[in-house]
Amino acid sequence: MQEIAYHRPGSLAEALELKQRLGEQARFLAGGTDVMVQAHQKKLGCQAIISLRGLKELRGVRLQGDTLLLGAATTLSQVLADPFISQHLPVLSDAARVMGSTQMRNVATVGGNVMSAAPSGDTLCPLLCLEAVCHLASPEGTRQVAMSEMFLGPRQSAARSGEVLTHLAITLPTAGGRASAGAFLKLSRRAALDLALINLAVQLWLSPDGGSIAKARVAAGVVGPTPLRLAEAEQALTGAAPTADALARAAQSLGNSCNIRDSHRCAAWYREEMLRVLCQRAGARALQRLGIAVEVAA
């Protein structure tokens, strides 16, 4: 790593002020699992790093009414170890569990995953399904961006230069006693230390009598330039009985809203086939978490 000025501000206000002063010369670092790798590859493209690691105001998980406030600098290990998240947002725990490795999860943060905006970012599909709201801070003030508006292209988020993601606000899917559960699955060549060939998250809400799916959210990664909500699958599931048949129909509907491509890691046709498989399996796991056993063919 070349000569770089490394700043460890003591507060968010100080971090924002530093960035405003240093401008494009400086980059924010949360866990460092992207920034430090870019530094190693000599692709950092800046002379200063502003570390957000020590900022307590960006850390931790707390509940405000029916909304979970997830600090952006909360590490993936902390997400994984959080019993409340496992119980109410298992779709997010599923993703944290299969990211990187123990060494990565101990430093990598949820906010860093969002702001890196990689098409393969594993927490992004769960956060899309949970309709998380990104809270961004800058010297001018704060603003909110819905997860569905957060990604503009590969590694390009809607955050402006100088903005810091402070936390994600997630309305609990189980708020008001609703029966809701989700699941996330990732396809990769190795079980650990690998990027997703594709990944997919499902969150389902049952009708009050449990006889049908009242609301469905489905999102997938590496199926286009950004992680995407899959509207056809959501429509196919909404109003359907919670059965394997409904999941199969949702899987068949997939593909129109995607732009699946060949890459050096995986052929497009395989991604497309496996997207349908993951959709059914993740849907089945979500239903299983709601106490509904379904057998999926694939």
């Binding site: 690691r53 490795s101 123990t102 990565m104 230390l193």
Partner: protein
């Protein structure tokens, strides 16, 4: 940019001058002469550089040196007793043939140490999960998992 900083290294306070662009791995190997921690990939993907910071295993090759100010860092050099007798994990690695070329071994042992400190009696799944960030191209992993299990069983 250079800065004087203090941290605990293998139980002893140290004071060093760290540079802004320096990784913890470079600080340990090049400034402090602790060559037990290895550089494999340099990008956090192989685990050879694993050290324990405040109880957590992490990849020192992508961890900024200045971030350990005030922290407690344990490297492979911190495991053996002052009289040279090996740590139970090191003994178990020797006994179970968990070392072949040896390059990944310090990282494997540090990952295992962080696991056993937090969870003295892990199941095999927990061991495999804790070691999933440590690549070994020799042993096929079986002996490593057996060694960690054996060290865990020895713990009171």
């Amino acid at each position: 940019m250079k800065r004087d900083m203090e941290f605990m290294l293998n139980g002893q306070p140290v004071r060093v001058e760290a540079r802004g662009g320096q990784t913890l791995l470079q600080l340990l190997r090049d400034e402090l002469g602790l060559k037990g921690t290895k550089e494999g990939c340099g990008a956090g993907e192989c685990g050879a550089c694993t050290v324990v910071v405040d109880g957590q295993a992490l990849a020192s090759c992508i961890y900024p040196a200045l971030e350990v100010e005030g922290a407690s860092v344990t490297t492979i050099e911190g495991l053996a007793a002052p009289d040279g007798s090996l740590h139970p994990l090191q003994e178990a690695f020797v006994k179970h043939g968990a070392v072949q070329c040896g390059f990944c071994t310090p990282g494997q042992i540090m990952s295992a140490k962080a696991l056993l400190d937090a969870n003295p009696h892990p199941g095999e799944d927990e061991i495999r999960s804790a070691l999933e960030g440590n690549l070994c191209r020799c042993t096929g992993y079986h002996q490593i998992v057996e060694a960690v299990k054996a060290a865990a069983e020895e713990k009171p």
